[in-house]
């Protein structure tokens, strides 16, 4: 397994990596991650956690996942599909797609502005 220490070169860089990853994990909205995962197509709980971990590097705990699912379902942003077993799949609704698009556009604006400001400050990106 490739460790951040091996890739980043030094303990300071590795420490920075872990700190940034921690901040990123804490500030990442599970609802947004779930919506982004369901944008690909209907998924059940386990498939959502696997997808989110693969795409965003965030491991959603079972409590966090179902907390997000209940909130999203309560706001009609996702809907549960019928299932024959205990694993019920969820699908993003039209309202959910619109909400996801709006949030991603906002994040895009933040990223764009942040990058421009960093470049203006002399950062090589």
């Amino acid at each position: 397994m490739v460790t951040p220490e091996a890739v980043l070169g030094g303990p300071e860089d590795a420490c920075y990596y872990y700190v940034m990853r921690y901040i990123s994990e804490r500030s990442t909205d599970p609802g947004l991650l779930v919506l982004a995962s369901l944008a690909e197509g209907p998924k059940h709980g386990y498939a959502i956690t696997q997808d989110v971990e693969e795409v965003a590097g965030v491991k959603l705990g079972p409590g966090t996942l179902y907390g997000a699912l209940s909130r999203l379902e309560g706001r009609d942003l996702i809907e549960a599909l019928p299932s024959e077993d205990r694993r019920r799949p969820y699908r993003i609704t039209a309202a959910g797609s619109a909400a996801l698009e709006e949030q991603l556009r906002m994040l895009d604006r933040v990223v764009d502005t942040g990058m421009k400001r960093l470049r203006a400050a002399g950062a090589t990106l």
């Binding site: 386990y46 956690t49 409590g63």
Partner: protein, 226 residues
Amino acid sequence: MSARLARLALWLYPLAYRRRYGAEMEALLEESGADRRAVVDLFRAAIGAHLRPEPALAAAVGREERLRLGLGAALACWFLFAVAGLAFYKTTEGKPFEGTAGTPSALGTLHLTIQVLAVAGGVAALVGAASFGLAVLRPRPMPRHTLRLARVCAAVLAGAMVEIAALTAAYLIAITTAAPHLAGEPNGPFGTPDVAVSLALQLVAMILVAAPATLVAVRVWRGAAR
């Protein structure tokens, strides 16, 4: 061990939540495994589910059932609170602690008030338990007067718990500032620790029980009003 703790954490979720997502969450835990991080996440989310209930899930549990569960939870809280209350009684046993033998009179007043509230809470618990039993034995729907009695009992119980906890805090401050010689006495429930430490521990236990009891009482009141 983690799997057992995870099942316990699932049991701590609100009933409506368990009915809607319980089976799915169990299936997820079976697939992904229940490590320590998952268990901590479940306990944290279970508390969140109680503090910030999802209104859309409310329909999963009927009004009657919610009220019965609410009153049952309030009675269970009172039982746990009584354990801390018993420890308070054992800690402050003896005339000097009751403020009757030349010690500050504030101690005696606080002691007496706590006893009066404990009796009021105890009576409310008995009446509440009786109305709860009657409601279970009688055919549905729950009679209106039983409902009214149940929510009044839940409110009295929660109120008594909060006030007793506040007065215990006042008693702790009074005994440590006005009678430090008594605060240092080894008069805890088992003869140790000393009175101040024992009272501080009881206060923490009281607050931990009184907080959910108050939350339950507010929900019972709101539920009955709907």
